[in-house]
Symmetry: C2
Subunit: 345 residues, 2 copies
Amino acid sequence: MFFVTEPNTKPWTMQQIADAAGVSVTTVSHTMSGKRPVNPQTALRIKRLIDEFGYVPDAGARRLQSGRSRMIGLAVPDISNWYFGRIARGAEEMADELDYGLIVCSTFNSDPRREKRYFNMVRTRMIDGLVYTAGREMNEMNELEKVALSSPVVLADEGINRLSSIPWVTSENFEGGRLAGAHVRELGHTKAVIIGGFAGLNSTVERVAGIREFFPNALVLNGDFEMQSGYDLVGDLLANDVRFTAVFGGNDLMAIGAIKRLREAGLRVPEDVTVVGFDDVEIASVITPALTTVRQDVVSIGRNSARLLIEGLEAGTFEGTSSVILPVQLVVRATSGPLAPDPRR
Amino acid sequence: MFFVTEPNTKPWTMQQIADAAGVSVTTVSHTMSGKRPVNPQTALRIKRLIDEFGYVPDAGARRLQSGRSRMIGLAVPDISNWYFGRIARGAEEMADELDYGLIVCSTFNSDPRREKRYFNMVRTRMIDGLVYTAGREMNEMNELEKVALSSPVVLADEGINRLSSIPWVTSENFEGGRLAGAHVRELGHTKAVIIGGFAGLNSTVERVAGIREFFPNALVLNGDFEMQSGYDLVGDLLANDVRFTAVFGGNDLMAIGAIKRLREAGLRVPEDVTVVGFDDVEIASVITPALTTVRQDVVSIGRNSARLLIEGLEAGTFEGTSSVILPVQLVVRATSGPLAPDPRR
DNA sequence: CGCATACTGCAAAACGCTTTGCGCATCACA
DNA sequence: TGTGATGCGCAAAGCGTTTTGCAGTATGCG
């Protein structure tokens, strides 16, 4: 008797509950919302019926009338990516705590069509506001700008310079770069390369700037945050006989790809080359040797983004809302160390 | 002039478009839906205005009237988990191709409150149907059953015996177990242990049964699919002096945890112990030594689930819809091999 | 010229809910 | 008993769409 055989049974309406209880819909509505007192006996009877029928008010009708859906959206480049998954997790936690629903959507790495679709979700009032996570240089920047003009939007993970008036949540990227740079510098390294993320991202720019406080001339290559690109870029460096004793990864994945490539070239980590990542993904502590990295609290990015958005929503304005910058932390493990004498050198 | 300063501007209504074009809303509506012919000139004028105003029809009102939202939901235990992220990715792809929207929600490992919330999303008609992914033994099984009674539900990844009439999508788990078992058997191993997933899951039961075709007496321990539990369970085995030369992981993460623990105990992989995983996560090919595993096409699970659901939705019934079982594939890498003489033995 | 036959557009009725304006009891207090 | 306050329920007016029944204007054809 599942849907298999019995299609779309009509759900109960509030009117039917009212009829069954012998009252008007007004009374049922007030019983549910508590916005006006209702005779305790009547209320009890109504509540019983609601339970019995399994009645749930229609979301669309409710929204239509009240103007709010108590739903927010989260747009990320790719939900299957660990990093964005964590953000989603955090946002969902916070939304839940504040009694909002969260709708997660992938823009498939900023596919303009998808982005438009999600921006429209706030336009169609399906959601009350949007947390947007830029994956790279934005395609539909203008669209975002337009949406933000009249609806609440918060930027997670990446601030966008042009859109400076939109609240955002991110990590101390510059400081993270500094921490990594200082650590490697102290180990005595002088020649370093940076496998950064997308060049257009603030986070990339800031991390690089932080590292360069200690390695002013470090070569910067830009990858796409995937393991493979770390692998490939180190391959390019080796093929060009670039000399370096330290590699900074724009994230852990690229750092891990780099390590793989270094090893295949017969280089030892950390004896010959020190490698430092960024993020502290779960796997970082498991690979051999365990990865030295800069930990950021990705879940918190999600949590705070959702919080900012919902607070703005309830307040009706972002006036006075200030962006959030979360602390990072250097985690020293086994891929960083002083230069060891090369047995072959 | 962002939302920061200018709260909730009212969106345009169809009436306003109609007024501006000097026609009635009927004409505007028909222009948009194409359900009745409209004078080309009038239509053009209306379309121009729609673009100019940036008008988008209200989703709630539309749903209220038409009865369908063209949105489906996907409930997974934890969106930040790689595995479920892949499923979400696949479902989202397919939904997009079929011009549906997808709403992804975490049940936070079957938190009853959350589950209820998502089941209610289909009750409130916010979504037209639901793809449900069980993470472990289900808590709100009865709820699911009730929902499935009147609304389209598809099970992804895990079939549920009691709910055999609900369509489901999964991998050839039994065959996967057999492949792994046969491979390890051929390498000459005779003593194996299985670090399985949750005991209550069909997939776990089937994989174990497949392996046991070749290792009838293999000890089975149940983990939670996380790396740590693979690590811990192997620790228990070692502490109890259990003798084995092969470990089957219920997934790659647990296999990787197991390897870590084995190494810490001074055992070599694969010389002393062969380890085989399940899934073929990205990291499996990167760790050293690279992991031998059974590959399943997780994205396809998501894709097919969404497809089944939407097809049922459009057809108005699941009559004739048959469940999907996807093929798996053994990927032999470096963690499996014949037993090598232990130098210390 | 007269009568079907499109072709277009309008008014109005839902859809299921929230909220407001009223009115009828009931009650307290003088 | 009169007066004001309070409690509680009803009817009805939207909210922004889609869809249906009608009607007015052309057009085609004998």
